[in-house]
Symmetry: C2
């Protein structure tokens, strides 16, 4: 299955293996290498880096053709990556691509996104890893421009690799043509007014997650701003979340 000499590319997402985004991505990357897809069997948006520990997970082959195998998995996006690399693939992937997500994963969304959780997980295994998201939630969104930019980036990552502990977050706006790709920082901001109150059948209050993003970032190069202006944003991200700057002050606290 994964015995040819071409690059081995592991693909996953959080919208499930049936989503248009991942299937467009498969087509876009098809001739770059041997493709193995291990994706959730249904929607897993907002799963972040969640892992399944209380129940076991399973996977099955959905379809297979020359140079492409598609598996579905009962777990989270991170479970998919762990399972593929630990149990299914017979060699280390040369690249992991997560997406294409239906909806943006800029700013603090990198924290909640299952797509970006899977991307970080690839990076934990030292696989050069990138997430790709389109700022359009619709099931029938047009991924053409996003596929073009995702493929260009995948080729670069295959060629150059990535530093240990670094992964990439590419977001693409819906404005056509995209003005270009800007290297950005993760915008500082948060979601506000996050719940819509409703009622269950018994008249008890229930809360649906909703809200809108408030951008508090003052830097020109924050991803949310660049996307607003019609650019694709590319943020290099780190696994190591240590706040090195604050370590000394904290040492003084504890002295």
């Amino acid at each position: 299955m994964t015995t040819d000499k071409r690059p081995l590319i592991l693909i996953t997402n959080d919208d499930g293996f049936r989503a248009k985004g991942i299937n467009e991505l498969i087509k876009a990357l098809r001739d770059l290498g041997e493709l193995v897809v291990m994706a959730p069997d249904g929607p897993r948006s907002g799963m972040s880096s969640a892992i399944t520990s209380l129940v076991p997970i399973k996977y099955k082959t959905e379809w297979q053709e020359e140079g492409l195998t598609v598996y579905s998995c009962t777990g989270t996006p991170v479970d998919c990556v762990k399972l593929a690399i630990n149990e299914v693939l017979d060699r280390e992937p040369d690249l992991l691509v997560a997406g294409i997500n239906h909806g943006g994963n800029m700013a603090i969304c990198v924290n909640y996104s299952g797509t970006m959780g899977a991307t970080a997980e690839g990076c934990i295994f030292d696989v050069p890893s990138m997430g790709v998201s389109l700022l359009d939630h619709r099931p029938d969104a047009d991924f053409t421009e996003c596929c073009r930019l995702g493929r260009e980036l995948a080729e670069k990552v295959l060629q150059k690799g990535l530093p240990h502990g670094t992964y990439l977050n590419l977001n693409v706006p819906t404005d056509i043509p995209v003005k270009g790709v800007k290297i950005c920082r993760q915008a500082d901001g948060r979601w506000v007014k996050e719940f819509k109150r409703s009622e269950d059948a018994g008249g008890n209050p229930v809360f649906w997650l909703t809200g809108h993003f408030r951008n508090d970032d003052v830097h020109e190069d924050n991803d949310e701003k660049m996307l607003d202006e019609g650019y694709a944003s590319l943020v290099p991200c780190k696994l190591d979340v240590t706040d090195y700057e604050f370590m000394q002050e904290l040492k003084d606290w504890m002295a």
Copy 2:
């Protein structure tokens, strides 16, 4: 409920409101302020920063006494924090404490942990936030030393606050007495041999998450090493995962 002038302390966890760890924490922080607990109604370990968007969430009052209200919530640890701050509390908390987790959240576990997901979420709301974990998974673990250190840190955070975008990850070993608290970096390493293969009733393979941590870090001050040596580890963490060092090279790639 939250109208007194004492500090308002929001408490959550990922083991559920019935766990010993959170109840010991409540006792340890009881006289530091007005306590509001919003915790999952059952175990949510390994939920990272997962959010619930496909179904609504609910909460209910479990018990209430002078200066303490305990709510349970059907959602994830991050849902608990979002719901409390958006819909339940009548003022911003002065401190969020997540834990005490049954089991360590050092090294890359910060990425998977629901306890640390909740802590990061408090930080997103600009609430000074800290997670506390004991390296003992047992339901009846002894939290005495961990409570002492958690309370000391909570008092410091209440007094000094934390920088915007920074939260704290305190892990406490089981060796008594703890040698002290070391300010650490997040250890670089990963989990290996992560699945145990088993079979379902029909003889199909299923995979249970397991594995052990491999520490690849060469620095003296990594949290895993310090815990091994009998110290409690305190890692300051950042919400912003941008890899600023790699931005220029990435710009050169795309030029």
